[in-house]
């Protein structure tokens, strides 16, 4: 019998998925695929990562040999140009014909380009293929301003990508009165707008572009309200247009506004012709997302193999993947009262807006919108999709549980039924994932991705898969081990103990005794940090200099361009006029840019490597010491002026801050740590945002721990109240040693606590009640670190062998790096921009 031949037009994401699904079910069909693009199907969803260093190969959905191995004929760069349904033939541009028994349209869509006069000008782009991105990044080199037409999901993503390309002046132009009009409401849009403005994006709403100005190349935009905007380039992201032209030409029915009409079996009006993905129109709707496209591929593949599956619409919940801004909508997000009850939480201060719609009987979650903080997205989506009955106070879902009793996010996961769809792109349920681990096939998230394919689509479910993996492994009593790298088969915590027991003092000794091969940039700084935490010896001695992170190796932060910054310690932020003058003089002499830092001290930027020792020599002579701004250790202990001057001050917060800073200076830890002391509850030193913070009370000090500013701010939690100074210090000693010994690499105290089972209550029990019986030992260990403190810059300038390393050229030690460039700004220098690459 003649083999049945299937022709797929389009080698995009869905076309590829169809091949994969079909082949996993059967190899009886002859399969031929035509792609118009020059390369194999790639991950369009993560297209923007192409600008962040991913290559076309990284984005590719398959290996080069995949099609051959699966006996699929793939023609790239070969669009199909016409079809004869009577003869069952398709034709390429050169007139070659290919016979089919079944024909599948997976032609996707193209960017919709509105008919604005001047749209053909140079410098106007769309954002859909790798080639588009190549053109954009090439043109961007000559541009200083850019605009994006379209404030939807894609437009925002494109705008962010353009900012990342270095064009800081980027604008978004949206026709509708709000951003992401299809996903979020007006209040959510306002919040998003404020957030985007922080990124540097200009947003224009209610703007109708009437002309694109310029001679050959674009120079600006003109709007219907007669206003103008000058711009060097433009990206159009005004929606999508299904690629139905070929289908239409051969008499397949298409919708009035485009799209190949299909039934629930993905069949067109010709029973031998199908359409899947973004070109298919089901029930009047184009599904412009990957998950429904994959679902269509599964349905068609299954039905061709005698299955009986049907498509009945798809959940259009989405999460924007812009870095730094969370936006998500799920379920029925636009439904309004009286058809539901809404709970809205808005925090202008933090820039978050959350809305959930619940059923009128208060039992079910129908949908919602999250802006500014979408951590709850996965759980909310699951709660809505699985019709999980809501708790009595559904507002907790968006407010999050507050106070000491922080529930970890995995708690919610245990409550989900096994049928809960975790990865909607690949249709993988909680049961599938847990079973793959339960039966021993998978041991970690990478295994799960490979064998269930969960998490390989848009990636939005990965945090949930991680939790599921950990939860299932734990339930099996398995120990989850975070090994450091290929050279050390230990976790940081194990390595800490082993180095201690074996009394090892240098990286090479550690590698010889506990590791293998030659080390790398992951284990070298990590081991160096452990050695420093354990022994507190000068970090550049014992041949350990080349095993330090670059900043530690030169005891200074390397800056853009290759110069360094100098930050002397200013304990508690208190400084004498004499010392201020010295800083001024040194900065002037070595032509350094000066700035008051956010940590109550002064940073001098732009020092040549060669000048570092001499600069420090002068600072040390004036009584300064290293501020360890470069090290993973104590940074600053901020203070407020406290009872010595302030009319509200209860105790002398400055003196206590200085005492604390001088006690813990120089101690190395898994990550940097910071502290602050406030003189009263008005909290001018912001102690509750620190790794440990102290606030004066009528009776003593309140000690807060595990706060964090930075990228994911978190308030510190109260550990103990009304302490006297000695007890306060004792608790901090224990707290720091516990952290130093047990945290994962590069984990701040806040994240460390978030992962700790039992949370703050457990921590309090360990620190205050000494539940582990370690307190005595920790206090001793910390005391010995305090005793062995020396200013490492002093040691460096006094040790000729170390000092010699502070030159740029080994064969011309006096010469500075001639490639470092500075430019002038507001009467000081600043570093030149990255050279264009």
């Amino acid at each position: 019998m003649r083999e049945i031949q299937i022709i797929v037009i389009g080698n995009g994401m869905v076309g590829y998925k169809f091949c994969e699904k079909l082949r996993s079910k059967s190899d009886k069909f002859n399969l031929i695929v035509f792609g118009e693009e020059p390369r194999r199907a790639y991950d369009r969803v993560h297209l923007s990562e192409y600008f962040n260093g991913k290559t076309a190969d990284d984005l590719s959905l398959s290996t080069t040999d995949w099609y051959k191995e699966h006996n699929i004929t793939l023609y790239l760069n070969r669009p199909i140009t016409s079809i004869s349904r009577e003869e069952k033939l398709v034709f390429d541009a050169e007139g070659h014909s290919y016979r089919f028994d079944y024909l599948v349209f997976a032609t996707g869509s193209a960017a919709f380009v509105p008919n604005i006069p001047g749209i053909e000008k140079e410098g106007v782009f769309v954002y859909r293929t790798i080639e588009d991105l190549d053109l954009i990044s090439e043109y961007a080199k000559r541009a200083t301003t850019a605009s994006v037409i379209g404030g939807g999901l894609l437009g925002l993503e494109a705008a962010k990508a353009i900012i990342d390309l270095g064009i800081e002046q980027t604008s978004i132009i949206e026709f509708a009165p709000r951003l992401m009009p299809r996903q979020i409401d007006a209040a959510g849009s306002d919040m998003l707008k404020a957030k985007l403005a922080e990124l540097g994006l200009q947003i224009y709403l209610n703007k109708n572009t009437t002309a694109i100005e310029g001679n050959t190349g674009i120079t600006g935009l003109k709007f219907s309200d007669d206003s103008n905007l000058s711009t060097d380039m433009l990206v159009i992201s005004a929606g999508i247009k299904p690629r139905d032209e070929l289908a239409k030409a051969c008499g397949i029915e298409v919708g009035p506004r485009g799209g190949i009409i299909v039934n629930e079996k993905m069949q067109t009006n010709d029973p031998a012709v199908f359409a899947i993905g973004e070109c298919a129109l089901y029930d009047g709707m184009i599904y412009g997302l990957i998950a429904p496209g994959y679902e269509m591929a599964e349905i068609l593949a299954s039905n061709l193999c005698e299955g009986n599956k049907e498509f009945h619409g798809f959940d259009m919940s989405t999460k924007l993947k812009l870095i730094g801004i969370d936006v998500a909508s799920f379920g029925d997000h636009f439904i309004d009262e009286p058809d539901c009850r809404t709970i809205i939480f808005e925090n202008k201060h933090k820039g978050t807006y959350k809305r959930i719609n619940i059923s009128n009987d208060g039992k079910y979650l129908l949908g919602g919108i999250l802006v500014g903080d979408a951590t709850a997205y996965n759980l909310l989506l699951q709660t809505a999709n699985n019709k999980i009955v809501l708790p009595a106070d559904p507002e907790e879902l968006i407010l999050g549980s507050r106070g000491a009793d922080q529930e970890s996010s995995s708690a919610g996961i245990t409550g989900l039924p096994d049928t809960a769809l975790i990865c909607s792109c690949e249709g993988v349920s909680k049961g599938d994932i847990c079973n793959s681990i339960g039966d021993g096939t998978c041991e970690n998230i990478d295994d799960v991705k490979t064998c269930t394919k969960a998490g390989t689509g848009c990636g939005g479910c990965i945090p949930m898969i991680k939790d599921l993996v950990n939860y299932t492994l734990k339930a099996q009593g398995k120990y989850i081990k975070n090994v450091i790298c290929e050279h050390f088969n230990y976790s940081r915590q194990e390595l800490y103990d082993l180095i201690h027991i074996h009394n090892l003092k240098s990286y090479d000794e550690v590698l010889d005794t506990l590791g293998k091969d030659d080390g790398c940039e992951v284990c070298k700084p990590l081991v160096s940090s452990l050695l420093a935490s354990l022994w507190n010896e000068m970090i550049l001695k014992k041949g350990n200099d080349a095993a330090q992170d670059s900043n530690d190796r030169f005891l200074a932060n390397i800056q853009k361009g290759g110069s360094y910054s100098v930050v002397p310690r200013v304990p508690g932020g208190e400084i004498t006029p004499e010392k201020l003058i010295v800083i001024g003089e040194v900065a002037k002499k070595y032509n350094l840019y000066t700035k008051i830092t956010g940590g109550q001290r002064i940073d001098m930027f732009g020092a040549h490597l060669n000048d570092l020792p001499i600069i420090w020599e002068e600072l040390i002579a004036a009584g300064f010491e290293s501020g360890h701004a470069y090290g993973k250790g104590l940074r600053t202990v901020k203070s407020c002026v406290g009872s010595t001057w302030c009319r509200f001050g209860l105790h002398d917060s400055v003196s206590f801050a200085i005492k604390i800073e001088e006690r813990y200076r120089g101690i190395r830890a898994p990550h940097k740590f910071k502290s602050a002391v406030s003189g009263c509850i008005r909290e001018c030193a912001e102690a509750q945002s620190k790794d440990f913070g102290i606030i004066a009370t009528e009776k003593g000090w309140n000690l807060y721990v595990c706060g964090n500013g930075g990228s994911k701010p978190q308030h510190a939690l109260l550990l103990a109240m009304d302490l006297d100074s000695a007890t306060c210090i004792k608790y901090i000693d224990r707290f720091l040693m516990f952290y130093i010994r047990t945290a994962d690499p590069l984990t701040r105290t806040a994240t460390w606590l978030n992962k700790m089972e039992g949370g703050i209550d457990y921590l309090r029990n360990v620190i205050i009640n000494d539940s582990l019986g370690m307190a005595g030992q920790w206090e001793m260990e910390l005391e010995s670190l305090v005793k062995s403190y020396k200013c490492e810059w002093k040691e460096a300038v006094e040790n000729p062998a170390i000092r010699k390393r502070f030159s740029h050229f080994v064969n011309a030690p006096e010469e500075k790096d001639p490639t470092i460039e500075f430019v002038d700004m507001r009467g000081q220098k600043r570093t030149a921009e990255w050279k264009s690459v």
């Binding site: 991913k54 290559t55 091969d517 030169f554 390397i558 080994v810 010469e815 490639t819 470092i820």
Partner: protein, 115 residues
């Protein structure tokens, strides 16, 4: 040793090089990163400029191996380059130039024609 047509630059003494790390060598207007991979008793030389953001930084990077391939990690954004071939091992940054190195009488020489 057979002298090739390469120009050999006397870069430094063996003891001036950093063990298991790099130093930067001035070669006319050029900068070359010289690595003394002491653990493997190997010497490597590459261009000092990292192609990612054009930073003169590779000599200050940490060296090591991935599955036995000797490499350097740029201190700026941790792109990895093979010390043997110059190929970028993380992402698509272009390859870096590598140069031959020889040791004679305790002096390190770098061939200033790239390999």
């Amino acid at each position: 040793m057979l002298e090739t047509s390469n120009n050999w630059l006397a870069a430094c003494r063996v003891e001036d090089a950093v063990k298991n790390g790099g130093v930067c060598v001035k070669s006319g207007e050029d900068q070359i990163a010289l690595f003394y991979f002491t653990r493997r008793n190997e010497w490597y030389a590459t261009q000092n400029e990292c192609p990612h953001r054009k930073q003169m930084a590779l000599s200050r990077g940490i060296i090591g191996t991935t599955t036995d391939e000797p490499k350097v990690a740029c201190p700026f954004h941790k792109k990895n380059f093979s010390l043997k071939t110059g190929e970028c091992l993380t992402g698509d940054e272009c390859a870096i130039k590598t140069y031959p190195v020889k040791i004679e009488n305790g002096t390190v020489y770098i061939g200033t024609q790239p390999k």
